[in-house]
């Protein structure tokens, strides 16, 4: 229920951001079009409710939001914003979910091994990798991998999500085609989170290993394996749930860059194109949806944390 005020706040921030702009959003359209008369402009203003006072505009906007009506795009097709976003959302979510899985699958073992063998060669190499992972501009890494795998080796496609002959391929080939197109984007969008989570996992694990109950488990004569993987790992994994929830905005934000670089027709690319075209209703809609997705990610994290650790529910 704590979500409701947050949701309300999100709508206000979206609205304020959009109305901070100097001039009216319809300026662009009327300036670009020499035949636009003052009358046309007024009609356009009325169409987007820009002739009403601000609080009224806000109420109208929120009222429409409640029924998922995000208004119509400024672009020539004038399609509903919600429809435009919805048709592009699945691929963005698919890539983000896949990269989240990749992050989990790689970061947890790396973190655990680094912690268990603290100061070993593996730990040091992982540490260097983490530092570089934090500092590397992922769009640059994308360029380098495109040059390596896409151009020099010619193994992977570097643009779009399907080949030109996609429609003529048998189903399994088409599926393979999709996978090939997704490998680079998923790997790259996982990269930043990978460094963060493995570092986090390592420090968690180090902390847990020093706890009394681990000493008890060892004192009982349990094998090192059982101590680490049964007793320590489970407890060190708990906070990861929260971190995953917190990483949602980063992943979604990053999708703008990846989808633009790899020409993937997802929400991020739509956002970028709308920003370039100053298509305010779409920009506002995606800003809102992005925040709501983040909120959902946090909510899911909270709920699953509660399920995984009954102690949390009490407080």
């Amino acid at each position: 229920m704590f979500m409701v005020p947050l949701l309300f706040g999100i709508t206000i921030v979206c609205f304020v951001v959009m109305h901070l702009a100097p001039g009216s959003p319809t300026d662009l359209e009327t300036q670009m079009n020499p035949r636009a008369s003052a009358e046309y402009r007024e009609r356009l203003n009325a169409m987007y409710d820009l002739d009403k006072p601000l609080y009224e505009q806000y109420l109208i906007w929120v009222g429409k939001l409640a029924v998922l009506d995000l208004g119509k795009s400024f672009s020539p097709d004038r399609r509903p914003v919600a429809q435009k976003i919805l048709e592009r959302l699945p691929i963005t979510i698919l890539i983000n979910v896949l990269s989240m899985i990749l992050i989990l699958v790689l970061a947890i073992p790396i973190g655990v091994l680094s912690a268990v063998h603290q100061d070993s060669l593996f730990d040091k190499v992982a540490g260097v990798f983490v530092f570089i992972g934090f500092a590397i501009p992922t769009f640059w890494l994308a360029l380098l991998l495109m040059i390596l795998f896409g151009i020099d080796l010619d193994w992977l496609p570097i643009s779009g999500i399907r080949s030109l002959n996609y429609e003529y391929l048998p189903p399994w080939m088409a599926f393979l085609d999709l996978i090939k197109h997704l490998i680079l984007p998923v790997m790259l969008s996982a990269f930043g989170g990978l460094a963060g989570l493995s570092r986090y996992m390592r420090s968690n694990m180090l902390e847990v290993i020093r706890q009394d109950y681990i000493m008890t488990a060892r004192a009982k004569g349990l094998s090192e394996r059982a101590v680490i993987y049964k007793h320590a790992l489970r407890n060190a994994l708990l906070p990861v749930i929260t971190i995953l929830g917190l990483s949602v905005p980063g992943l979604i934000g990053g999708s703008v860059i990846f989808e633009t670089i790899f020409a993937i027709p997802g929400m991020g690319q739509l956002f970028y194109m709308s920003v370039m075209a100053r298509d305010y209703p779409v920009v506002m809609g995606i800003l809102f949806i992005g925040a709501v997705l983040t909120l959902l990610g946090n909510l899911i994290a909270d709920v699953s944390y509660g399920l995984a650790d009954p102690r949390i529910r009490v407080s």
């Binding site: 921030v13 951001v17 959009m18 500092a135 040059i147 670089i261 956002f271 920003v275 920009v283």
Partner: protein, 291 residues
């Protein structure tokens, strides 16, 4: 008596500061980081003298020339020397990094101080606002604002600053809520110090440690964000050279000119790595127990 003063944290004596520097210079990470940052500063200041060519000099006879003795990092699609553009680009990223972080720290420290010091409903309002802002993917927020304004270097700096203060607010607030209960604050109040005096003279200097670390890491983050924006063509606008917009040219010529993609990215990587190492180093030296 002496240990009491030290523990209360109000008196930052010489010994504390010397301890910090001693640990700082012994810390390999910190030394490497500060060297990288120092070199970048020198490059930025000396840009007009050390750049081999005029960064905006177009030479159509040498378009997209591969790295050679005369052009160490090659030339771009207009025949401009990439190395010279990168040297001038160092200035831009330094400027963006510091101004954006400065704005973020200013807002963050102020809001965090007010929230932590006054508590109650003021705290609740400010921290809810922080929660709301954190819901937005930062990159989305930045892009949305840029869509409304002209993309210029000043707008970029301001926007990155305005969207990056939330972490600092949380840090400063946490420091303030614990610090304000300490004896030295009570003592200050007892001798009649006003709220402003307590916040700025007594509390803020004690919260500076975590802010300093956040600021160093913030510069790195701002430089990364600026390069990503410029890469997408909505950051620093050509012909002003920035590492991000050289990379845009790299993407456009990805199949023929690898040097346009390789070197500017390497510059970003080293810079960000430098600031991150420096930040880590400062953190370790401030409080060795945090490792």
């Amino acid at each position: 008596m002496v240990w009491q003063i030290r523990e209360s944290g109000c008196h930052r004596g010489d010994s504390v500061r010397t301890d910090f520097w001693k640990r700082f210079w012994k810390n390999k990470i910190a030394v490497v980081g500060s060297c990288v940052v120092a070199v970048l500063f020198i490059i930025s200041i000396l840009a007009p003298w050390i750049a081999p060519y005029d960064p905006n000099e177009i030479n159509l006879a040498r378009v997209l020339a591969a790295p050679s003795a005369s052009h160490l990092c090659g030339t771009d699609q207009l025949g401009r020397d990439v190395l010279s553009r990168m040297i001038w680009g160092a200035r831009i990223s330094l400027k963006v990094g510091f101004v954006a972080t400065g704005i973020a720290i200013l807002i963050g420290a102020l809001l965090g101080a007010v929230a932590g010091y006054y508590g109650k409903w003021i705290d609740a309002v400010i921290m809810r606002f922080v929660d709301i802002m954190l819901c937005f993917p930062t990159f989305f927020l930045i892009l949305a604002v840029i869509a409304l304004l002209e993309p210029s270097i000043w707008n970029i700096m301001i926007i990155i600053g305005l969207t990056g203060w939330m972490g600092v607010t949380r840090l400063v607030r946490a420091d303030f809520t614990s610090l304000k209960e300490r004896d030295f604050v009570r003592a200050a109040r007892a001798i009649g110090a006003g709220d402003l005096r307590i916040i700025f003279i007594h509390l803020l200097p004690n919260a500076m440690a975590s802010v300093l670390v956040a600021a160093t890491l913030g510069v790195a983050g701002a430089i990364l964000t600026e390069s990503a924006l410029s890469f997408l063509g909505i950051g620093v606008q050509p012909p002003t050279p920035s590492w991000g917009n050289i990379l845009t040219a790299g993407k456009d010529n990805i199949d023929i000119a690898w040097w346009l993609s390789l070197y500017p990215g390497l510059a970003i990587l080293i810079t960000v790595l430098g600031y991150n190492l420096l930040g880590e180093g400062i953190r370790d030296s401030l409080d060795p127990r945090l490792r």
